[in-house]
Amino acid sequence: MKVLLAMSGGVDSSAAAVVLRDDGHDVVGVTMRLWGGESDTGCCSVSDVDDARRVAQQVGIDHLVFNFSDDFDAHVVGPYVDAHVNGTTPNPCIECNRHLKFDRLIRRGRELGFDAVATGHHARIAPDGGSLRVMRGADRAKDQSYVVHMLSGADLGYVMFPVGGMQKSEVRELAARAGLRTAAKPDSQDVCFIGSTAGRGGFLGSRMDLHPADVVDASGRKLGTVDAVELVTLGQRRGLGLGGGDKRYVVDVSVAERRVTVGDEEMLHSQGVTLGDLSWPHAGDATAVQGATVLVQGSAHGERHEAVVEVPDGRSTGNHSAGSTVRLVWSRPQRRISPGQTVVLYDTTDTFVLGGGIVTDPR
C-alpha cells in the first residue's frame, strides 16, 4: 500500500517507518509544521523536522513537510485561548489529533492518492463485526487510545498505527537496531506551542487579559489572592499563595466573579460528571451504552473509574450534535474533572473505546 506516515521526529513514528517499510509498503514520511510561533520546548521545532528527515533518509523513504500552521491556529491555539477566557481547561493535543492529524492530513493523503495515513500512536484498530473500533495499545503504560478516541467510520479504515501492538521498549530497540538518531529521544511531554521559559501564563498573557482573583474558603472568607484566575484549575494545590497548613485544593473557579474557592479533598468529590460535544465513533449515539457500566478515563494516562451512563430524557446523544449530553454516575465518588477536559469511555474489560465527550459540568 501507499502509506503517508506522520513523522513528528520522535521515536514512535521513527520506528513506525521501519515497520511499514519492512511490511513492504510504499511509504512517504511527512512532518506537519503546526506551530508558527516561537517554541523552546524542543517540540514542533526545526530540530524535530531535522530528526524526522534524517530518520526517513536512513529508512530509505521520502520525507516532506506540510505547513498546516493556519489550521493549527484556527482549530487548536485559538480554541485553547478561548477556553481559558471562559475558565475551562482544554486539551489541545486531542484537538490537534481531531483537526490536524485525523482530518487535515487524512484529507491531504486521500487527495494525493495514498491508501492510508499512519501515525506512531500506541493504539490499535480492531475489527468488530463488520466495522472497526479503537482499542488500547499493547503497552498499557504508553497507551494513547485516549487521544485518538474520536476516530470513526471510514477514517478508522484509512488509519494505521504500526507500533500500537508493540511495547515501548520494543519500539526503542527497533529504532536502535536501525541506527536511528531518535532511538533514545525522550517522549514529548508539554504542549508544543507553550515555551518552557514563559510558560502557560506567559503564552496566555500575550493573547488574552488575565485577571487577579480572591482565594476564599467555603464560607467566603478571603485567604489570599492569585494573579490570574484564568490559570487556576480545579484540584490545584500549589501556586495559591496559602503557605503551609492543611492540604487545601481548588474546589471551584469562577472567572466571571474573579473568585477561587479552596477546600479539603472531600469537597472535590462528585457523584458524577456531565459530558457534551459527544463522539460515539462506533455506535453513532449513546443508545447502546444507556444504563451500562463503563470504565471512564479523564486524562491522557489517568486511572480508570467505573460509572453508569445516564441519558437525559428526550435529548439527542448523537455525534457532536448541539446540546447533546450524557451523565456518568460514578460507582464510588470521584474527584471532579475540570470543565473542558476530555473524558473517554471504555468497555468493562478496559479494552475498547466506546465513546467520549468534553466535561460540561463536573458535579
Binding site: R33, V46, V49, R53, N67, R108, R110, G113
Partner: protein, 384 residues
C-alpha cells in the same frame, strides 16, 4: 509511483533556485580544486599561479559588466552580497535602508533588522516609484536596494527609472540592485550604468554554489561585512575561493555569450508552457503578464488548489518545480511577494513557479504541461 521518477528521470524546471553548472565551469572548478591548490595571497610560484587566475577571472567579470576590474569583489554568493551592500551602507552612511516589499529576504531582512523602511510594490511586483519617491523625500536614506528581477514571479524593475528617483530624491544614498535573477536575461552593462552596487550569485547562471560577485562603484562608501586578512582590497576578507571564482567567471562568460539566443529560445518555451497550462486548466492564470517578466520564469496560480499538493504530484511525475520560499523546517511559507502584490489568498495558496534555463528543452515543457494539467485535474476532482 509514476513512471518518470521511478526511472530516475527528471524534468528540471527549477533554474531560479539553482541552474545546472555549465560543463566548462565544472571543468574549471575541478582543475582548481585538484591540481592548483595554493592560496593566491602567497608569494611563491604556486600562489602566483592561483593569483593569476583570480586576476584573469576578475578581468572577465569586469568586461562583461562594464566596470573597472578593481570594482569587482568576489563573495560567497547572493545573500552575502546583499548583506554586504545593505548593512555596509547603513554602517558607513549613518542613515536608514529602504527597499520594496517584494525583495528577496536577503535584502528585506537586512532592511527590517536595521530599522529601515519597506515601500509597497505594484500588482506586478515592481516597485511603486511614487511611494519610493515620497519615502526618500523624507531624507535620511543611506541605501536603497531594488532587485533587478524578482526571484519568485520574474518581473523586471526598470532600474533606469528607479535610479532617477533615487538620484533626485536621495542624492547621497547608495543604490544597490540584487541582480541575482537578472544575469541570464538582461544586459548587465546596461544595469550597471544605473547603480552603485550590483550583486550576483554564480549558481543561478551555471556556476558553482557558494560563489558570487559584488560590484562596487569606485568611491561608494561601504563598511566591510567580513573583517580579517584584508583580501579583496579590504572590502571582503577571507581566503579567496579560487575554484569558485574561476567557475563564476567561466559560467558568466558562457551565459553572456549565449544570452541573446537563449532569451528568444526560452521565451518561446515559456509561452508554450503558460499558454498550455492556462488554457487546459480552468483555475490556472499567469501571475504577471509575460511582457513584464523575464523568459525564465513561468509563475502560475491555481486558484483554490494548494501548492504543497501540486508540488507533490508534480514530483511524483519527476517534474521539479518550486512554490514560494521554504522556512528553516522546509515547510512552505505563504509568499511575501504575492502578499505584497495583493494576490488574493485563494490564488496565492496554489502558486507554482516553473523556472527555465539553459538545459530546458521542448520535451521538458511538454512533460511539465501534462504533469501540471494531470495534477490540477486530480486535485480539482478530489475537492468536488
Amino acid at each position: 509511483m509514476a513512471g518518470r521518477k521511478a526511472q530516475g528521470k527528471h524534468v528540471y524546471l527549477d533554474h531560479a533556485a539553482s541552474s545546472p553548472m555549465h560543463a566548462a565551469a565544472v571543468e574549471a572548478v575541478q582543475h582548481y580544486m585538484g591540481a592548483e591548490y595554493a592560496n593566491p595571497s602567497g608569494s611563491h610560484a604556486l600562489a602566483r599561479s592561483a593569483r593569476r587566475v583570480i586576476d584573469e577571472s576578475r578581468d572577465i567579470v569586469a568586461e562583461i559588466i562594464g566596470c573597472a576590474p578593481g570594482e569587482v569583489v568576489f563573495t560567497s554568493g547572493g545573500t552575502e552580497g546583499a548583506n554586504a551592500a545593505v548593512l555596509g551602507a547603513v554602517r558607513r552612511g549613518n542613515g536608514r535602508a529602504v527597499c520594496p516589499a517584494a525583495e528577496h529576504h536577503a535584502v528585506l531582512h537586512c532592511v527590517e533588522d536595521t530599522g529601515g523602511t519597506v515601500v509597497p510594490v505594484l500588482p506586478d511586483a515592481t516597485v511603486d516609484l511614487d511611494a519610493l519617491a515620497s519615502e526618500l523625500s523624507r531624507g535620511g536614506a543611506a541605501v536603497v536596494s531594488v532587485m533587478a528581477v524578482n526571484n519568485e514571479v520574474g518581473s523586471v524593475n526598470d532600474m533606469e527609472r528607479v535610479a532617477r528617483v533615487v538620484r533626485d530624491c536621495a542624492p547621497g544614498a547608495v543604490l544597490h540592485t540584487d541582480a541575482v535573477q537578472a544575469a541570464c536575461w538582461t544586459d548587465l552593462r546596461e544595469l550597471w550604468r544605473h547603480v552603485d552596487v550590483l550583486t550576483l550569485s554564480a549558481h543561478k547562471f551555471g556556476g558553482p554554489k557558494g560563489a558570487g560577485v559584488m560590484v562596487v562603484r569606485e568611491g561608494t562608501g561601504l563598511a566591510p561585512l567580513i573583517l580579517g586578512g584584508g583580501q579583496e582590497r579590504d572590502r571582503r576578507s577571507g581566503t579567496l575561493n579560487v575554484p569558485g571564482v574561476v567557475g563564476t567567471a567561466v559560467a558568466l562568460a558562457v551565459t553572456n555569450s549565449n544570452r541573446e539566443g537563449e532569451v528568444a529560445r526560452l521565451e518561446a518555451l515559456r509561452r508554450r508552457l503558460v499558454d498550455a497550462v492556462t488554457s487546459r486548466v480552468g483555475c490556472a492564470t499567469a501571475t504577471v503578464p509575460r511582457a513584464q517578466s523575464v523568459p525564465g520564469v513561468a509563475h502560475i496560480c491555481f486558484e483554490g488548489l494548494e501548492s504543497e499538493s501540486l508540488l507533490f504530484l508534480l514530483d511524483e511525475e519527476g517534474v521539479c518545480v518550486s512554490a514560494a520560499s521554504a522556512c528553516a523546517s522546509g515547510a512552505m511559507e505563504p509568499s511575501h511577494v504575492l502578499a505584497a502584490m495583493g494576490v488574493p489568498r485563494s490564488r496565492m495558496m496554489g502558486s507554482v513557479r516553473f523556472s527555465l534555463g539553459h538545459t530546458t528543452t521542448r520535451e521538458d515543457i511538454d512533460a511539465a504541461v501534462d504533469a501540471a494539467v494531470g495534477a490540477a485535474e486530480r486535485l480539482v476532482a478530489a475537492r468536488s
